[in-house]
Amino acid sequence: MRSRLVLWVPLALLAFFVGVAGYMLTQEKDQFVESTMIGQPLPAFALKPAVASLPGAAKADFVGAKPRLLNIWASWCVPCIAEAPQLEALQAQGVEIIGIAIRDRPADVANFLARYGNPYARIGADDISEVQLAIGSSGVPETFVIDAAGVIRYQHIGDIRDNDVALLLAELEKAQ
């Protein structure tokens, strides 16, 4: 009888949720997935500034002298708040961080930077996620290591935690 089967739907949904949540509780939070874009050069792009106080970002900004970090973030993204201190720590180590703000507004970006600090050398505004999709990033926040030739060398998915700082510094060293 169909109507009887419908009554089991809530239980099935709950079982699915409990299963996923239970699995998540047993998982270590730091997991890295190799992206297919790693090893490929950055696609060409030029984004307008996301906030008045900083310049925008273009592919040319990544080319020359040293490897840099490309940080995909947004002021509306909560994990981005969590990773702000780690980005500042990286900047304090002399790393140049170029931000790309996804679907954001200048006022919100300015608020975020005022409140959580500004580790960025420049921030481009990606209002339609074009660059985000082009470099194979599926969410915010994500951080990429780009070498001096503009080639994507490493992808970090999710917020940068304390122990990831050393890891990213090592990846930047490798990309020299």
Binding site: W8, P79, N111, I157
Partner: protein
């Protein structure tokens, strides 16, 4: 000694929960027409004594915090002898263990109240309800005693405590979490009643009338708690926003949405004997949303600005309880709900029809919020980490909220069972005219985003519609509960108006200002007069002296601060607010730039306070509805008593009288 008394009371309460569960279970073995199973009589007293013990345990913990007993691990890690007394006391529930003890205390208290005062239900249903309530309480006692003992002693007493999260050192904390908890727990009673009724096949209007005050009470507390929490986040986080769709905020919103739907559906069941299965389903859903909220907040599976007390082991425990209770409830639901008969039928254009439509819309919004909150968790399980924010929640929720508000305007005007829309065509035209006129007027004066524009129109239409049920009635004869509905619906309009104004008309200014400099925001001239260091009991701060003058009038001085707490060290910004009847000025001071200028952020938010006034009106409407029901109930009880007394008098006058055969 204090801690030992508390711990002993907690263990005894747990033992009584077992007794309540088993004894209540025996009530189910009583078959119809038979006297009560003799083993079932212990459930009620067990629930009452358990309530006393659980409250005692919480009182002991309050005491330990008040005197800063540093031999307790919980006090040492969450309090500080230098803290102001009020925050020592609120610190009792500003941490994981204490707040869980508060939760259990309120749970036991409401179970005790139910057992002591509720006499309308059949004893079998009551026994089953108390058994479920005992079973739920037992899980939380086990959680406290086995994995989060609040009374744990330190081997060597600490010399000083390590403070409290400074964001939580705020009067908002004194009211916000306890109110929400009491609301969550009220839903647990609704859950137990729903299960009791389902198990004993007593899903009927009598049961709905017993359940209604608990749902209404829980809903009032949740409304109040969310309103207070939103205002707290607004002035304490210093972002100028009032809702962030943060997982923890959503965790409090979801039970409210479910409770709102449940409250309306239980009213239909009580009045019309319809929506039986749906009411049971919502009863389970409302409580599962409160448990889910607890799980999300406590387990740390989601990143949140509120995240505290993060511990996977505790998360696993709560998840286990969630699976057990809600899984069990859904299983019973699936097995039994098919056997619950359908109840009275009604046509779509009737008050029931409108309520069902809005219930479905509320459930859809609940699903939207639930999906958005859990989506990051689910994708993370597949190794993709995302954050879902307002760009998803606002439009997705609006898709269902807009038709809901429209039906909400018309629903109370319809008659029960069946009605012709033509009967209320004047009212419908009036509401539509207000809606269109306001939208046209506002868009004539400027370019505004779609959602705030719609919000303004709907708010005006709803405000008019909320008053229409009073039309043509003698105001002194309108029942108190109806006034409650009118007030609550009007409160929704007020709140919506505040949200729309905030969205459409907010003026914002972010500027670097040198002392003496002036910035113009809307009608206001904002002058930074000076910046000076100040110190509080456990913090130091930079305090700005800002003169705000509207259209050249006498200036008002505001003092926003950037505070640094030293135990534990953490920085917060204390916004300064200037409230006028037509809005609020919101000022935050930021960092000092190298050239000596200060970062000032200033917002003028027209009518933003209406968001919370509306919330309070909604809660007040709920209070009126409860008061109305209680008054009717007291009258009924008095009448029953009077009738019994008259009969006794008659019998006394005429002892030989026998009832006519």
């Amino acid at each position: 000694m204090i801690a030992e008394i508390g711990l002993a009371a907690l263990w005894l309460a747990a033992a009584l929960a077992v007794l309540q569960m088993v004894s209540g279970g025996f009530a189910l073995r009583t078959s119809d027409g038979e006297a009560m199973n003799p083993l079932a009589i212990y459930a009620r007293p067990a629930a009452v004594v358990q309530a006393v013990l659980a409250v005692l345990a919480f009182a002991m913990l309050l005491w330990a915090f008040a005197v800063t007993d540093l031999s307790l691990k919980l006090v040492a890690s969450n309090s500080h002898s230098m803290k102001p007394m009020i925050y020592k006391i609120t610190g009792t529930w500003g941490n994981h263990e204490g707040s869980m003890l508060l939760w259990v205390g309120v749970l036991a208290l409401s179970g005790g109240l139910l057992a002591a005062f509720e006499r309308r239900l059949p004893e079998r249903t009551m026994g089953a309800t108390l058994a479920v309530q005992g079973f739920v309480a037992l899980g939380f006692y086990a959680f406290l005693l086995l994995s989060s003992n609040p009374f744990e002693r330190l081997p060597i007493p600490a010399t000083e405590g390590v403070g409290l999260n400074p964001l939580l050192q705020d009067i908002g904390l004194a009211i916000h979490p306890p109110t929400l908890y009491a609301g969550y727990v009220g839903l647990s009673v609704a859950f137990s009643l729903a299960m009791g009724a389902l198990l004993t096949r007593e899903v009927n209007p009598a049961f709905a009338r017993v359940m209604r005050p608990w749902v209404l009470g829980a809903w009032v507390l949740l409304t109040f708690g969310i309103t207070a929490g939103s205002y707290w986040a607004y002035y304490e986080l210093g972002w100028g926003g009032w809702w962030f769709w943060d997982p923890v905020e959503n965790a409090s919103l979801m039970p409210w949405l479910a409770a709102t739907a449940l409250m309306h559906s239980v009213a239909v069941l009580a009045a019309r004997d319809a929506l039986r299965t749906w009411t049971i389903m919502l009863g389970v859903l409302a409580f599962s949303m409160s448990m889910l909220g607890t799980f999300l907040v406590r387990s740390g599976v989601l990143t949140s600005v509120h995240a505290f007390a993060v511990d996977p082991e505790r998360g696993a425990f709560i998840l286990g309880l969630l699976g057990l209770y809600i899984g069990g409830a859904f299983t019973i639901f699936a097995l039994r709900a098919g056997a619950v008969s359908e109840g009275t039928r009604f046509s779509f254009s009737s008050r029931e029809g409108a309520l069902v439509f809005n219930n479905v819309m509320l459930s859809a919004i609940l699903a939207i919020v639930l999906l958005g909150t859990l989506y990051p968790l689910v994708t993370e399980a597949f190794d993709v980490r995302v954050s879902v924010g307002p760009p998803y929640f606002n439009p997705a929720a609006a898709i269902f909220a807009v038709p809901m508000f429209m039906v909400m305007a018309v629903g109370p005007l319809l008659r029960w069972k069946e009605d012709k829309p033509a009967r209320i065509q004047f009212e419908m035209l009036l509401i539509a005219a207000v809606l269109v006129a306001v939208i046209a007027l506002v868009s004539f004066f400027g370019q505004f985003p779609l959602l705030p524009l719609l919000g303004l129109g709907l708010a005006a239409a709803l405000a008019v519609a909320a008053m229409l049920p009073l039309r043509g009635r003698k105001l002194t004869r309108v029942p108190v509960a109806t006034w409650g509905m009118v007030l609550a619906h009007f409160g929704v309009a007020v709140s919506l108006f505040g949200m729309a104004c905030e969205g459409a008309f907010t003026q914002e200014r972010l500027a670097a200002v040198a002392p003496g400099g002036t910035e113009q925001v809307g009608d206001f001239a904002v002058t930074l007069q000076s910046v000076s260091p100040v110190a509080g009991p456990n913090w130091t701060a930079i305090e700005a002296r800002i003169a705000v003058s509207r259209n050249g009038a006498e200036p008002v001085i505001l003092n926003p601060q950037a505070r640094s707490f030293w135990s534990p060290s953490q920085a917060t910004s204390e916004s300064a607010l200037l409230t006028r009847w037509d809005g609020q000025m919101y000022v935050v001071i930021g960092n000092q730039a190298e050239d000596g200028r200060w970062q000032l952020r200033v917002w003028w938010k027209p009518f933003v306070t209406f968001i919370w006034y509306g919330g309070l009106l909604i809660a007040l409407g709920g209070v009126l509805a409860i008061a109305g029901r209680v008054r009717v109930d007291v009258k009924r009880r008095a009448a029953v008593k009077l009738g019994a007394a008259r009969r006794a008098d008659l019998d006394a006058l005429n002892p030989a009288s026998v009832p006519a055969e």
